[in-house]
């Protein structure tokens, strides 16, 4: 391979307060290669890339492009050096078309001619195999289309070095494959691609080399062909980690939560949940898979009493009284008063599950502060609970008086999950509970969920990593466009099968159901 150095970082450091986000990182990027930047969340991958893209400015060290030392103080500087970054959160104007978004902010003194822009966008698209309609408005686009716009935006500005921050987090397996094909084509065209990720199988299938970061430091850069998942994990985590999830057979299952024909219309009048039917059983983990924003959040919130459904039923079978309780249109408080022990770990941990500015004790109190008739709050029991959870889940914190926003993502999640489990639930719902967590914390959470299942809790787990879903869950319900497109057995289902279900349109689900109906009638 002809190895020309495109970009070099020498001894680059970035500090936030006393925290070293990056410490003396050396990195070399060649022309015509895909370099994966691998590391756990919070290890400084994004910070490092942001320094190349001009979002942050390094506190120490140098960046060289084509052997020349450069100073990149803004994304404009970065583009001048032909560097472009595709961020995890898209930065697009919803009401503008693709082409308008692509030229937005380019100021080359010339009047812009939308026709020419469209033509150039088409040309770039054809060259690398994108599918894009330059005239389509952003708000009409799917997530994957928006990502395409972001990539073309960068290419349009002439970038030779492209940085992608976790580009597959929002994509289905099929879309991911398409993206990878495009990235490989770009690489063969001589571009340098840096891709931030923490998914090992992506690293292995896509990249030429892997740079591993741990706690802000560069551990090693290795050839992808000569490494394996175990070695990479060990470099990432700093110790050997077992990558197997224990999945015991469900025992004594009993129908616990029966949801039927559940529909929900959001504030804009759009049907976000449409005739959802499923049953969650005790002693079992029910996974929920789907493209982000397919209705997973709304479903859990509706069950938890935070949304008012337009139709349908949510029945809870109480194991103590053997009675069925209707949870529909009840507030969280009323649900609790019915004796329903429903715990909910929401997706938005600091914005919904916890209060970011409050300390651990006050956050423990959220569920229980109302207990008793006293005017005053009792902080004694929550303090004991906080101490216990910190000890049992090995939460690293200076103390119970630390505001939870100061804790790392993994520790925040342990506080939240710990509190919800401490309420001794019979139903435990968790939405993306490992998002943003490092490998060790993720496995702690998986083990906690499995332990709850073994104690007879009905666990509902909304996940995004299909590899995990098929390893952890007993059954997996797939949601597409607010509808259930299938419920599969977690032990036999394949990722591809689930991927197909994830992308089904309403019409397809509709016809599928009809077919099943007629099949049944025939039988």
């Amino acid at each position: 391979m002809n190895k020309t150095v495109a970009l070099e970082m020498k001894q680059v450091s970035k500090y936030f307060g006393s925290l070293a986000a990056n410490r003396k990182v050396d990195l070399t990027v060649y022309r015509g290669e895909i370099l994966a930047i691998l590391g756990e969340n919070g290890c400084g991958k994004t910070t490092l890339m942001n320094m190349i893209a001009g979002i942050y400015f390094p506190d120490e060290g140098q960046i060289l492009v084509d052997g020349q030392e450069v100073v990149i103080r803004s994304p404009k500087d970065a583009f001048r050096h032909k560097i472009g970054m595709i961020h995890q959160h898209f930065k697009l104007v919803d009401l503008f078309s693709a082409a308008e978004n692509i030229v937005l902010g380019i100021n080359d003194g010339e009047r812009y001619n939308l026709k020419e822009v469209n033509a150039r966008v088409q040309e770039i698209a054809e060259r690398y195999g994108f599918h894009i309609d330059p005239k389509k408005k952003i708000h009409e686009m799917s997530v994957s289309e928006k990502q395409t716009v972001e990539i073309i935006k960068v290419l349009y500005r002439g970038a030779d070095i492209l940085i992608l921050d976790e580009p597959t987090a929002v994509l289905t397996p099929q879309e991911t494959e398409k993206l990878f094909a495009i990235l490989k084509r770009m690489r063969d065209d001589g571009k340098s691609i840096l891709i931030i990720t923490h998914k090992l199988h992506e690293v292995l299938s896509l990249s030429n080399r892997v740079a591993v970061l741990r706690k802000g430091e560069h551990i090693a850069t290795v050839e992808t062909a000569s490494t394996n998942p175990a070695e990479l994990t060990e470099m990432m985590v700093g110790q050997k980690v077992s990558l197997n999830i224990n999945r015991p057979e469900p025992e004594n299952t009993q129908d616990r939560l029966l949801v039927s024909d559940l529909s929900l219309v959001n504030a804009d009048g759009i049907k976000v949940l449409d005739d959802i039917c499923f049953t969650a059983r005790s002693g079992e983990i029910l996974g929920i898979a789907g493209i982000a924003g397919s209705g997973q959040r709304e479903l859990l919130e509706t069950i938890a009493g935070l949304q008012h459904p337009a139709g349908g039923r949510i029945l809870y079978h109480n194991p103590k009284t053997d009675k069925e309780e209707d949870l529909r249109d009840k507030t969280p408080m009323q649900i609790r008063e019915l004796g329903v022990r429903l715990s909910f770990v929401p997706e938005d941990r600091l914005g919904m599950g916890l209060v970011a500015n409050m300390d651990i004790v006050d956050n423990m109190m959220l569920r229980s502060y109302k207990r008793g008739h006293s005017l005053f709050v009792d902080r004694k029991k929550p303090k004991d609970l906080a101490d216990r959870i910190i000890r049992e889940l090995q939460i690293s914190t200076p103390g119970t008086a630390t505001p939870v926003r100061r804790l790392s993502g993994g520790n925040v999640q342990k506080v939240l999950v710990g509190r919800e489990i401490a309420a001794a639930p019979t139903v435990l719902m968790a939405a993306y509970p490992v998002r943003g967590l490092d490998v060790n914390s993720s496995y702690t959470i998986y083990n906690l969920l499995t332990a709850q299942k073994q104690q007879g809790v009905a666990v509902i787990f909304v996940g995004e990593d299909l590899d995990v879903l098929v390893e952890l869950c007993d059954r997996i319900m797939v949601i597409a466009n607010g509808r259930v497109s299938g419920i599969v057995d977690g032990r036999t289902a394949t990722k591809e099968e689930i991927g197909v279900l994830m992308t089904q349109t309403r019409a397809e689900i509709e016809s599928q159901k009809e077919k099943e109906g007629s099949d049944r009638a025939e039988a």
Binding site: Q11, R73, D77, A304, P332, P346, M352, Y369, L375
Partner: protein, 367 residues
Amino acid sequence: MQKHEKHTRDPRFHIVKRAGMSRGKALLIRFLAILAALLLCSVLSTLLIGANPLKFISTLFSGSLGSSRRIWKFAKDSAVLLCISLAVTPAFRMRFWNLGGEGQVLVGALASIACAYYLRDSIPNPLLLLIMLVAAVLAGAFWGLFPAICKAKWGTNESLFTLMMNYVATYLVAFALMEWTKADGSSTLGEVAFGHLPRLYNEYLLLILVVLALTVLVYIYLNYTKQGYEISVVGESEKTARYIGINVGRVITRTVLVSGAICGLAGFLIVAALDHSITTATVGGLGFTAIMVSWLAKFNPLIMVGTSALIIFLQQGGAEMSTIFNVSSAFPNIVVGIILFFIIGCEFFIHYQIKSRVSHKKGGVGK
């Protein structure tokens, strides 16, 4: 390439967030900030009005602390301001931006004085005082009720709403004054001889003690009661509040009622302990100054004792200055502005530090 060089020089300094600072060090920074502010003010005073800097600073102090009469006045004014600041604080803790403290205090005062004006000596004084108190508290709470309900039900903007209520309150007072002074046509209400709070050693002492007790009560309410806890949760995150089943609308309404009630109490104290009369300017902007006091203290009632005293100290020092040096009141206002700027501005240095960039070029790493 040459063309770019100009844009891409290293920034020499950049701002870094501090990891945390010891209390002592933070206090030292605040102290230095005040010192620097006084220094700058002295220089300005020498340049602009030709005053001796030492005399200038001593005037600032003697305005509030020059004599025992002044000290009492200083304490009294601080207490009134503190009382109103305590009143707006529960709502602020909930991120309900109540700008209607002014009006809520004024209607409280109006309700009190109306009771005294109409009931006169028809009932014993203690009973009259009690009625005045209850009327004031109800009136203040009532004034906060509409904005609170509208916010809780329809999410209206509470700032605009409460602000507008101030004007209604002002003209209500103007209307009452017109009614009451029709006979003599003076349009100012003389001292009402009934419903005075008793003197306790000094004419201001009772007021000061009541406000200090209130400070402790509000502190306990906000930090140790279930309702106070709910206020914090709703203020920090409405989504979390809903998630755990707090009835957000009810908490908003209840808290604004508490705020309004304490405003009413402040109105009662102003009437029954100090003014024994009312004008449209009875509150005199304290309802707005209170917002600053509350913010400066980061909504902590105990710290508000200090911040309200600081504001009054600066005001009275400034007033003294304009008398002694015979300058317009504009100059003392500049001084007050400078001092506040330094005090608030020094927070920046408590939370951030400025670092010069460590250069590696000299280390010879380069080419």
